[in-house]
Point group: C2
Chain length 210, copies 2
Amino acid sequence: MRFRLRYGVDMPTTGRRERKKAQTRRALSEAALRLFCEHGYDGVTVAQIADEADVSIATLFAHVPDGKEALIFDDGAERPVWLAAAVRDRPPGQSVLQSLRRCMAARGPFTNDLPPELRRKRDLIVSTPALREYSRKLWIAGEGTLAEAIATESGRAPSDMTVRALARYVLEIPGLAGTEPDPLAALNAVFDLLESGWPESPEEVTDRPG
Amino acid sequence: MRFRLRYGVDMPTTGRRERKKAQTRRALSEAALRLFCEHGYDGVTVAQIADEADVSIATLFAHVPDGKEALIFDDGAERPVWLAAAVRDRPPGQSVLQSLRRCMAARGPFTNDLPPELRRKRDLIVSTPALREYSRKLWIAGEGTLAEAIATESGRAPSDMTVRALARYVLEIPGLAGTEPDPLAALNAVFDLLESGWPESPEEVTDRPG
DNA sequence: TCTGAAACTGTAATCATTATAGATTCAGAT
DNA sequence: ATCTGAATCTATAATGATTACAGTTTCAGA
């Protein structure tokens, strides 16, 4: 029991094996982030990362089957869950799109309310094409999950193309608005478009509902 | 002059050098398509393709700097031009979105009005993740061009996030709707969404304008 | 005919990724 | 306390895409 705190506070609670595994995985992430920040993504080889984390290359790929880009993303599967949960647990009276807008605004590139370490990571991702791409891939991977939540909450079929399109378009927003000078304003503009549709003339724009 | 027809009908009209270059490029595309169709994308190496086209690997990459996926796309830069032109040259009274909807419906995965060779190519692309990805990349590369046309035609700034988002969302449609059982119906559903916005309840859907 | 650029070649790198086969370590059962 | 199988890790050697290089051939234009 006294070992628990040695390796981290919120491990899955099983044996030493799992702790060591997580330890290795974290060592890899941290080594990768450190080296990427110092020499740029393309200036670092997976061999160097493995060395820095003191594991073999084979071990590196065992921990990160998706390859080099995935090294600094430890949370791949979680993101779609946040959004789906935001839709399901939204307060009564709030529309599906409103809940998505708020949830998204609190994440990723849209807030500066982050510890400096995460901010450095975000900046690295935003400024590295390969990492931007991979980040998008992670978001899009949640399309099915999000579409299901949207369908349930709006009384449509999950295979309804409108549902799938909305899910996809929402998940594209980080990649689309994340590089703008004012990401939050950009995010709101895109959600306005999704809520109200494209007004043929700029004059027709109406105030944002809600 | 009598050599013109030997190598093709619509070469850029300069010397033999250009003709041979185009000839080589076409040999590569055709070899790649043939081998991909026969053994699957992952079942073919660039070395095999180079062999089949009777050029060295270095030459292959000189012709196709974007790599293996680009081999069967000889028209990368043209696609955004079609769409931008469709927006600019639309008949009076037709909305920007209407023109895009019609132009898109005539292309890529949305029509079967294609020669069998192109149909085989399209099926290969749709059924191969790496090629789908690359095709999307080509579409998205035209975002700036399309955004500019949309901005001009609708009296907005090209940097307006709404414009950029619309351009992006339109260009995502092939990848989004192209794999549906009825791609054309899917395309129309997505355009309806972009025109009218997301109706919180399915009941609110209005007839498609125009 | 001469000359420089363009296109091509073979060869050898670099790098990510996967396969293999053996060693070590741990969890759970005896 | 010991045994056993699975998980983890290792070194090593492929494979395959991509790039660098240095030299050759071929063409266009002076």
